[in-house]
Amino acid sequence: MTDQITHREMPTGTEGSEAGPPVVPREGFFAMWRRLQLGLWLAPLGILALVGVLYMYYQNLDLANAVRQTRSALQWETKLWPQMLQHVQIAFVATVVVVIVAVPLGIILTRPAFRRVGPYVVAVANSGQALPAYGLLVLFGAAMGMNRTAAMWAFVVYALLPVLRNTMVGLDQVDRSVIEAGRGMGMTRMLVLTRIELPLAVPVILAGVRVAMVLNIGMATLAFLIGGGALGVTIYSGIELNQNSVLIVGAVLVAIVALTFDWLGAVAERYLRPRGI
């Protein structure tokens, strides 16, 4: 990859002598950024820095002299850590379920037999996202009981659309002539789907999954509303106690979880993208 710079042609001598010293073409900052994928490898450093700052902030809190509720809300072993695990669990499981539902659905809706119903299903998925998240949660809580599972299913409905839409778009954008060539050589529809269409749609589908993941991590903050726990509990007590320290610790932890998973998504996009495209 580095030979792009070293092999770049210099302006010729004659041109240089007339117009002053030769100008060495410089790679733009953003081009270099993209080429080296600096973002991908700097992001963990940023996340670690955030963790460090939060750690120092937390250590410097004068918890011994704080009110009892604050001290209790900020306990690592019994509050923050379990909440963070619940948070990740809700978001992760919801995303996995979204993938399990939306990808096959997207595949079916792009097959000739079902192509015509596609827009209607997308419209339904769209309305899932258009509903107020709060309302959706309450609906699921009322129907399935006030617990984490209900919250998770509400988030599944909420995050279905990006994965469904990207699966359909990803499959639709596969060059028709590539499919035609495959069919023309005697590949069955199934083979064309698994060996050609899906691999070529992977980057677009993954982008959708990444969006759903980040969406779910944000949404999981609301799970506490129907008794689902997670980091929303801490943030809410921060508001209720009017204690900024509690609010800040909760919010920054959510941010750390979100950034970490977004980064994992970026790494997956980078390495699961088939070579050659």
Binding site: D175, S177, V178, I179, E180, A181, G182, R183, G184, M185, G186, M187, T188, L191, R195, I196, P199, L200, P274, R275, G276, I277
Partner: protein, 387 residues
């Protein structure tokens, strides 16, 4: 070339869903084993539809299709297609697979073992004129248009099918590369002897590639089906004539070799004979030019009456030099090109040793053209009489 029908279409019809006029109407057609049959016609006349009916990418709405006398309108279309090579204009290489993987598509489906597949991929890359060491592990986006099309052809040859269907395979390629790919493909075909149905909208490509050409009109109706020579010599109707366009006579000259001409005598003297002998020989004939040949009968100089009268008998720098010599295998088209450039308006034909075998003049070409036209017309009259 055996004339047994490798592919037979029997009153095949395709009516697309929701259209009233069929795209292909009652088409009957035999493709002989080992030939290139070209389907040519204006855009939208149904060439691609016809081609895709053969490997059942499109299901016919009527009629039968036979490969080797086997009715294939009822067999499993996926299995059928693995026996038939298919090349399209857009090529459709799989961008996420290497060149070798692309070429191995059909062998893999046929469950060949790994070593055999790898060997086959290398062999086909060689055939396509691409060094396996360099190209085997490349991805399609790293190829030029011409290279990609070669890989497309190699991939279609993957499991050595007996039949190839090619839909405007060179249509999207620049003219110079196209010419080269056409020549390479013809060379390959001379070796492989596949049965090929080749679609194009370009009559010149049809003339070049086809052993036989089917000129198609609306609804894929055959307007004329014959060898390129005969179509050029005798277009059966106005439609075909218009489609061939101007210059059909000249294009026809490409198909006849000089060996087919009967060249009459031509006034000649050896370089050790006197100018006087030359003048006598010239007067005996009704020609304007005389040829001076050396002891081995190799043509040296063109001389006119005036040149001979002033000649010293050495024939050095007298008259004009014979620059171009053609062989019996050259075509009438080559000779026309030379004649137009030479002062004498004619052209020497020589044997392997350079000895003169005859002189081609414009009258010979005119006669050859007339003969081809008469033969073609007689052929069509016979067909009508027999019908």
């Amino acid at each position: 070339m055996s004339s047994e029908a490798k592919i037979r279409l029997d009153r095949v019809e395709k009516k697309y869903h929701g259209t009233s006029v069929p795209a292909v109407e009652e088409l009957s057609l035999d493709v002989h084993e080992g030939e290139i049959l070209v389907l040519v016609g204006p855009s939208g006349c149904g060439k691609s539809t016809t081609l895709r009916l053969i490997n059942r990418m499109i299901e016919p709405t009527g009629g039968k299709i036979y490969l080797d006398d086997e009715d294939v309108t009822t067999v499993d279309p996926d299995k059928l297609r693995r026996r038939i090579g298919y090349v399209i204009q857009q090529i459709g290489l799989f961008p996420h697979q290497t060149i070798a993987q692309n070429i191995a598509t059909v062998p893999r489906m046929l469950k060949w073992d790994k070593a055999r597949i790898a060997a086959r991929a290398d062999e086909l890359l060689h055939l396509a004129g691409l060094d396996p060491e360099i190209y085997r592990d490349r991805y399609p986006k790293e190829l030029s248009g011409g290279q990609a099309q070669r890989v497309g052809v190699a991939r279609a040859l993957g499991a050595d099918p007996e039949i190839m269907l090619m839909d405007e395979p060179f249509g999207a390629i620049d003219p110079i590369t196209r010419e080269r790919l056409q020549n390479e493909f013809l060379r390959l075909q001379a070796e492989l002897k596949k049965t090929i149905v080749f679609v194009t909208h370009d009559i010149d490509e049809a003339i070049k590639m086809g052993d036989r050409i089917a000129i198609l009109g609306e609804r894929s109706v055959i307007r004329q089906l014959d060898t390129p020579e005969r179509i050029l010599a005798f277009p059966v109707d106005q439609f075909v004539d218009d489609f061939i366009g101007a210059g059909s006579t000249i294009k026809g000259l490409n198909f006849e070799q000089l060996s087919g001409l009967r060249l009459g005598g031509y006034p000649t003297i050896r370089s050790d004979q006197s100018p006087q002998a030359g003048l006598e020989a010239l007067n005996e004939s009704n020609k304007t030019w005389l040829l001076v040949v050396d002891e081995q009968n190799r043509p040296m100089r063109w001389m006119r009456e005036g040149d001979l009268q002033q000649s010293t008998g050495s024939y050095q720098d007298e008259g004009s030099e014979v620059r171009i010599r053609l062989n019996a295998e050259d075509t009438l088209f080559d000779s026309l090109e030379q004649m137009l450039q030479s002062e004498s308006g004619s052209c020497c034909v020589v044997d392997r040793h350079g000895a003169l075998t005859g002189v081609v003049e414009m009258a010979h070409l005119r006669r050859a053209i007339r003969r081809a036209q008469v033969e073609a017309r007689r052929h069509y009259e016979d067909l009508e009489d027999n019908a």
